[in-house]
């Protein structure tokens, strides 16, 4: 006897709740339904899944959250201190979304507006080819229940000098903010995106993001995300990019806040000459747990990717890095690197690193490596011998360790904020 299988539902992300998100636009509704189908079909993650073995799903506390309703326009958006440094600024809070500043060179609009004005764009790219793996549960969840959607499209040959800032802020206890971002870079377009995630201290909430990037031939994008959510918050992030011939994507995710973060990032260098520089920095302390999963898919020959993640752990902080380089059949001439360096600052910190390769082609160079270590006592001694206090010496060395990633951050303000937050974390241990 064949019995109908129960849909796989997580907490309050139910079919009844889903109905509340429909009715915006036929195109987005269709995309949501498609995602919801995946969401209910894919089994819920369990602790025995390899991806969740070190970060069991219960740590994400997904049962504790209710998605915020679909957000409208925020009439009184907060002013972000970095706003002047950017060509375009978007703010997302529980009160809604506000495009505070934009440039006539770009198309920056909410997902619903974009669906009405450019339905073919949403049709083609949302849940498109950027994700080179089979549908994933949490991404399908966000793609079904997103309460704020944003589309950024840059036409060909447009160079946006100062870039786009997107600020997310959440503060309601038990709320889940689910932002959905679609970025399409036209041929030879050049631009940068900075995402800044903040939240009210000491509240339990979730930010679950889904992003897709499509880079046409010759396009160049730099993306950085600064995540400084409250120490109780949960963060889930899915980020996928499809890179065409001669296009380059450079990313840097700074994971510093939240209680538990589950990040999946990957790219498909889909045409010869495509280049991807993925990277990130994380610093887990005070029982924070950051779990990163990356995929460098080379579906085409003569492509390049370089993944660099650097992390530090202390005070029972725990980080997990699982990375894969995958070269498809026939992808000769691929040049791929994957590096994960970890600094374990005290005996209670822990970092697990699992780099891996899946190679189905010949004549290529794929290398991966991971390091674990603590601060070099000789270097601390050297600095102390020159009159620098031990705490300052440690700070300098940690900053130096992360220094390699700094050049990937296009915004001076984001760089400064990164150093500030790392300094604060180190100070928490000193005191």
């Amino acid at each position: 006897m064949i019995t109908a299988t129960e849909p796989h539902i997580i907490g309050n992300f139910t079919p009844e709740c889903f109905e509340g998100f429909l009715g915006g636009n036929d195109v987005t509704d269709a995309k949501r339904r498609e995602a919801f189908e995946s969401y209910t079909t894919i089994p819920n993650p369990v602790a025995t899944d390899e991806e969740y073995r070190r970060t069991p799903p219960r740590l994400l506390k997904l049962d504790s959250f209710s998605p915020l309703p679909k957000l409208g326009i925020d009439p009184n958006p907060p002013v972000h201190p970095w706003a002047d440094d950017f060509d375009a600024v978007v703010s997302v809070t529980e009160n809604g979304i506000a495009i505070q500043k934009t440039s006539d060179k770009i198309l920056l609009m909410t997902m619903d507006d974009a669906s009405a004005a450019h339905p073919e764009c949403i049709q083609k790219y949302v849940r498109g080819e950027a994700m080179p793996v089979k549908p994933r549960k949490l991404q399908a969840l966000v793609d079904s229940f997103w309460n704020v959607g944003l589309t950024l499209k840059i036409d060909k040959n447009i160079v946006l000098e100062k870039g786009v800032l997107i600020h997310y802020h959440v503060g309601t206890e038990g709320a889940a903010l689910l932002p959905r971002l679609l970025v399409v870079g036209g041929e030879h377009a050049e631009f940068s995106i900075v995402e800044h995630m903040t939240s009210t201290a000491d509240t339990l909430h979730a930010v679950m993001q889904s992003r897709e990037y499509y880079l046409m031939p010759g396009a160049k994008v730099k993306q950085v995300s600064v995540q400084e959510l409250s120490q109780k918050a949960i963060s889930v992030s899915e980020e996928w990019a499809r890179i065409q011939a001669g296009a380059t994507v450079t990313t840097c995710s700074l994971t510093l806040g939240s209680k538990v973060s589950k990040i999946a990032a990957g790219c498909d260098t889909a045409e010869p000459g495509a280049e991807a520089y993925f990277g990130g920095l994380y610093f887990a302390n005070k029982k924070q747990q950051f779990d990163l999963m990356t995929l460098q898919m080379h579906s085409s020959p003569n492509t390049y990717s370089n993944m660099l993640y650097k992390g530090a752990t202390q005070s029972k902080g725990y980080s997990v890095y699982q990375g894969i380089i995958q070269a498809a059949r026939g992808a000769i001439g691929v040049d791929a690197y994957q590096t994960n360096n970890n600094l374990i600052l005290d005996h209670t910190g822990r970092a697990d690193s699992l780099p891996g390769l899946i190679i189905d082609a010949d004549e290529l160079a794929c290398s991966h490596g991971a390091t674990m270590g603590t601060l070099d006592a000789d270097q601390i001694y050297y600095l102390r011998a020159r009159g620098i206090q031990e705490a300052d010496a440690r700070r300098l060395l940690v900053m130096g360790f992360f220094g390699e990633l700094v050049e990937r951050i296009p915004s001076e303000a984001a760089r400064e904020r990164m150093f500030e937050l790392i300094g604060e974390k180190l100070k928490e241990t000193d005191t």
Binding site: R53, R54, K259, H347, R350
Partner: protein, 104 residues
């Protein structure tokens, strides 16, 4: 700052010799050996596998995945592949109630 948390009762251990608890963001296994109660972090320090289903012999618990052994009394590692201890937590019994001390 360390606080005592009431986490179980003696009656909980009539059928089973172990109990999983979550307190102050710690995941702890309480094990009864003879008339003593011990509390350790459930995560093996080798490959972060849960010790809750580990085989217990006297005061020694063996990780079900790779066989690393730990002393339930103080969390110290007793055999490879573990090269560092698991955290242990002080336990006290008052009447029928079991308390665990956790640093917050």
């Amino acid at each position: 700052m360390s606080n005592w948390h009431e986490v179980a009762s003696v009656a909980d251990f009539k059928k089973d010799d172990r109990k999983y608890i979550e307190v102050a963001d710690e995941e702890i296994g309480i094990f009864k050996v003879g008339q003593e109660y011990h509390a350790i972090s459930i995560w093996c320090s080798h490959a972060r596998v849960s010790l809750m289903n580990g085989f217990v012999d006297e005061h020694c618990i063996q990780c079900p995945a790779h066989g690393a052994e730990f002393d339930l009394r103080d969390g110290s590692h007793m055999s490879a592949p573990a090269v560092r201890p698991v955290e242990s937590f002080p336990v006290k019994v008052e009447g029928d109630k079991i308390f665990v001390q956790v640093e917050e």
